[in-house]
Amino acid sequence: MTQGQVQHRINLKTQALACGRGDAVLVADLSLEVAAGSALLLRGPNGAGKSTLLLTLAGLLRPISGTLVFEGADPEAGPFIHHCGHKNAVRPRLTVLETLRFWADLNGSGPLPPAAALERVGLARTARVDAGYLSAGQQRRLVLARLLVSPRPVWLLDEPSAALDAAGRELMAALLVDHLESGGLAVIATHDDIALPGAATLTLGAEA
């Protein structure tokens, strides 16, 4: 089952981008290009600024200097970025299906209904369960389902494979391959090996 829909093609370009928290620079002078249909893996030790860079790319943090452009993005068409941080945004009191429906309402729903997305990430049987009962890995799968219910061309994933088991990682890689094939773009910060053929790798904080 693929997403079956060709994404709006967006290229990511940055020039001399510096980002950090407050006025403390974590990543300086970063110029990179990620074309539609390709992925970039961010690597580097803890504290190298991977999460900060992803937040900056998502527009959740303001860059300290430099430029950041998403070429081909249509500002009228609404937000085009999915950002998945460390926190799952899962509230224990809501059921799994309610949580996913809420995300679909919030981000705009696509052709894939929430129930089908749950099936795709292997959570179909837990749909009526309170999200608080999910294990850490299952919560992560639920977050992956969020990417599926609202199609958006840019995925910025922060440690998506943390807490996932082997099957979960395969699932994530398969979802990523589908996403890239349909013309999407992904930037992934990770410590694990993700089987993504043709993905470029950027190592942050190597000189430190």
Binding site: A24, G59, S65, L68, P75
Partner: protein
């Protein structure tokens, strides 16, 4: 949210040159001592007028002399808030780096002047109304203004990151500015409801010139005092930010 091209290249106009904190520091530093001297002279002249060269009011007697410190501090309590609101606009609309600094420097000054206005008001109130505190419209809305000032100071102190703090405080300051007239109106409505109408209007236009001269001198003395202190506090704040940056850089250098 501006995702499609964030461009922060500075345009060099006199405005942005003044906006540069270092430039501001070196341009306004020579002003401090002359301003301080002028303030001192005006303050002394004002005091001389207030105590030796002005008559007692035919109605209020000598207590009218409290007016020479009460009215200027009461004026400043509102003027400082207006200055803070303009700075808040500067922070929100133009992201002017000096506006943050000006906002932060003004808040404690405003709170201090407001507290002084309340204190002198109650010192005036005791002989005039027979009580230290009267819930009249002006006293009450000044008290609420003091609470707003103290809230803003608490908000500044609660943030670790001063850049973030500046924007949030700016939003709050402006919402406060929209609310202050409403508060004033509601409090006036309320106080006329609960007690016989207004007591007296000392700052009305019918005051004789002999009372107006010391009032004006003191008025300018206090306003200049605020300007001087505001400049000095802004300088300190600019330096403090530089200090934090330097210290952080030093700490990072140690860590590497």
């Amino acid at each position: 949210m501006n995702l499609n091209g964030i461009d922060d290249t500075p345009k060099m106009s006199w405005w942005s040159r003044l906006a540069h904190p270092g430039q501001f520091l070196s341009w306004t530093r020579p002003l401090i001592w002359p301003l301080a001297a002028l303030t001192l002279v005006l303050m002394l002249v004002g005091l001389w007028f207030a105590f030796f060269n002005s008559p007692a009011d035919y109605q209020m007697g000598d207590t009218v002399r409290i007016m020479y410190v009460h009215v200027p501090t009461a004026w400043l309590s509102q003027f400082v808030y207006a200055a803070m609101s303009v700075s808040a606009l500067g922070t929100l609309v133009w992201r002017h780096p000096l506006a943050d600094v000006s906002m932060k420097a003004a808040a404690p000054l405003g709170a201090a002047f407001t507290a002084m206005a309340l204190f002198t008001g109650s010192m005036w109130g005791r002989p005039t109304w027979g009580t230290f505190w009267e819930w009249d419209g002006r006293m009450t809305s000044t008290l609420i203004l003091l609470f707003i000032y103290l809230g803003i100071i608490a908000l500044w102190r609660a943030f670790d990151d001063q850049l973030r703090a500046a924007r949030v405080v700016a939003v709050f300051t402006l919402v406060g500015a929209v609310n202050v007239p409403i508060i004033k109106f509601s409090v006036d409505w309320w106080s006329t409801l609960h007690q016989p109408a207004s007591v007296f209007r000392a700052d009305g236009p019918t005051m004789p010139g002999s009372l107006l001269t010391p009032l004006f001198v003191m008025f300018f003395a206090f306003t200049l005092l605020f300007v001087t202190l505001q400049l000095l506090a802004m300088h300190t704040e600019i330096r403090r930010r530089r200090l934090i940056t330097l210290e952080r850089r030093a700490a990072q250098g140690d860590a590497l």
